[in-house]
């Protein structure tokens, strides 16, 4: 049991990173439009985040330096500041969407308009940030988010033609009625959703919060492999559910309840209740993750004391950044801006900012002055290099694709 609880950081990171508002919608959308033909992108994304989160966790365990420390140190104050502004903005967009997601999932059960529930959701998020111990937080929301496995069960219940699903997944093609640019837009959205920078901000800072040391490198590896693989499996299950129920009906997903609809069809009320609970936990977890990441990145850029491992009064600026982010996100959410649109833009924009975050991680993980004997092995460098090139291509393509496809709406 103790060993199992040791991987909850990875599980919460992955639940908050892989089945949050952005991914729930992006996965269901791609499933309903392209079947499983983009499932390969999720696999690529999982491998990518595994490679870089492992490095970031290892650097944090060995040096106690989290990712934004490295960004400032290796990119310098100017590029670091540009990255900070971009990451903070994306964090804020994502936080807005997640708080709305929490409100929507509660609103569905009690029949109240979600806009009215946003202040309550934001307050609860802030209360957890302010008072709940880091480990409790990651255990509670990480483990509760695991109920989303109901998506996997639903796929089995729906009794699909497994051969057909497998062939879709292994033969990616541009479906008729769709343009290459649209497919590319969604592929980048999926990759951006899988590799959002806030996951490594959170994961590496969480490793410091939990006082990992060189003795915990196995724990790091277990967290990364178990957590993110699980996140990837859930992502593909969501996609499969949408492709089995919504695609044949020509439904294109643009709201959160539509994501849960296939589970209701497959498993009835119990399934629906479980999936709504899971969505609540996942979006809540992601709200914590993005709010903390906002605090971590700012504090680490300026060198302020951060972390939930000290009293709030000793990390006052860090807590105020988080409080401010939650308030702004709640206010934006209350304008009833479509949270699904917000999340779509935030993940594609985050794809544009990826290299600035992952480059310093890869460099420091190779620096013997920092890492001693724990520098990257050949395998980590091989994959790290490939992914950095991929991320560069993606970051260049992201913004033009938003324009060409009008945000994937074409």
């Amino acid at each position: 049991m103790k060993k199992f609880l040791a991987v909850t950081l990875g599980i919460l990171t992955a639940i908050g990173g892989f089945v949050d508002m952005g991914d729930l919608v992006a996965n269901a959308q791609t499933g309903s439009r392209f079947g499983l033909s983009l499932a390969g992108v999720v696999v690529i994304g999982v491998l990518g985040i595994v490679v870089f989160a492992e490095m970031a966790g290892r650097v944090a365990a060995v040096t106690r330096r989290a990712v934004f420390d490295l960004v400032r140190e290796r990119l310098g104050p100017r590029m670091g500041l540009i990255n900070l502004i971009a990451s903070f903005f994306i964090n804020l967009l994502t936080l807005t969407a997640e708080i709305a997601g929490v409100a929507i999932s509660v609103g569905l059960l009690i029949s109240v308009s979600y806009v009215l529930l946003i202040p309550l959701a934001a307050f609860l998020v802030w209360l957890v940030l302010w008072r709940m111990p880091f480990e409790w937080m990651e255990r509670f929301f990480g483990l509760l988010g695991l109920v989303l496995i109901v998506f996997v069960v639903s796929v089995f219940k729906l009794g699909p033609d497994w051969g057909d699903l497998a062939s879709q997944a292994t033969h990616p093609a541009v479906p008729e009625h769709e343009s290459l640019a649209t497919v590319a837009f969604f592929a980048i959205a999926l990759l951006g959703a899988a590799m959002t920078p806030y996951e490594v901000f959170f994961f590496s800072s969480g490793a410091v919060e939990e006082h990992w040391s060189t003795g915990d490198l196995n724990v790091n590896r277990a967290n990364v492999f178990i957590g993110f693989t699980l996140g990837g499996v859930l992502s593909i299950a969501i996609m499969a559910c949408a492709s089995l129920v919504l695609q044949p009906a020509d439904v294109q997903v643009d709201t959160l309840p539509q994501v849960a609809l296939p589970v209701a069809v497959a498993m009835g009320r119990v399934g629906l209740a479980v999936v709504l609970l899971g969505i609540f936990a996942a979006t809540f977890g992601a709200a914590l993750e993005t709010a903390l990441s906002a605090g971590y990145s700012v504090a680490q850029y300026f060198g302020w004391q951060w972390g939930k491992f000290v009293k709030a009064r000793d990390a006052a600026r860090f807590h105020v950044v988080m409080l401010g982010s939650v308030v702004v996100a709640a206010l934006v959410g209350m304008t009833a801006v479509d949270p699904v649109k917000v999340t779509e833009y935030s993940i594609v924009l985050s794809a544009a900012a990826l290299p600035l975050t992952y480059l310093p991680i890869l460099i420091v993980a190779n620096d013997p002055e920092f890492m001693g004997d724990h520098v990257n092995g050949r395998l980590a460098n091989f994959f790290g290099s490939i992914y950095l090139v991929l991320l560069l291509v993606v970051s260049v393509a992201a913004v033009p694709l938003i324009i060409i496809t009008k945000g994937g709406s074409g």
Binding site: G107, I110, D250, V251, V265, I402
Partner: protein, 157 residues
């Protein structure tokens, strides 16, 4: 990086975000092909809404959802439908062929929206028979929209 370079990054990003939020912008259409594209996009939205409501309605009849959930899904579906209808209505058809198309598409949009409103009312009343009738009434509209969609051809980029 100098200040001007910083702005050259920030300004396009802000522009894209604000510009990109306006989807399916209303603009003059000068060719019948362009008009067909707009029609197809509107039908896509309507078809998605109608089918969503059919799916959730069928689930409701089999006691597979909560009424609060079903209502929300139906409400969510009505919004984009109205928008699609309004948007399409404001585009002036460029020629006679397009004008004929306009009538056909608008008819389909209006009728299917009405079917959804009937469904919403039935849910409000909570009468299972009325819900069953409303779901049954939705199916032909889905078929009609699908036929129309096939006629209009492939999706625009």
């Amino acid at each position: 990086m100098r200040r001007s370079t910083l702005w050259s990054v920030v300004v396009p990003v802000v522009f894209v975000i604000t510009g990109g939020c306006v989807t399916n912008p209303v603009g003059p259409v000068t060719t019948v092909d362009g008009y067909r594209e707009k029609a197809a996009a509107s039908i896509d939205v309507a078809l998605g809404s109608v089918e969503t409501v059919r799916l959730v309605g069928e689930a409701e009849l089999e006691d597979k959802t909560f009424t609060s959930f079903t209502r929300q899904v139906v409400d969510d579906a009505l919004g984009p439908m109205r928008t699609a209808e309004d948007t399409f209505e404001t585009i002036a058809p460029p020629d006679d062929e397009a004008r004929a198309l306009q009538r056909e598409v608008l008819d389909a949009l209006v009728l299917s929206r009405r079917a959804l409103v009937v469904m919403a009312t039935a849910l409000e009343e909570g009468d299972p028979n009325a819900i069953a009738r409303a779901v049954a009434a939705i199916r032909p509209h889905a078929d009609a929209l699908r036929t129309l969609r096939e006629k209009l051809g492939s999706r625009s980029p």
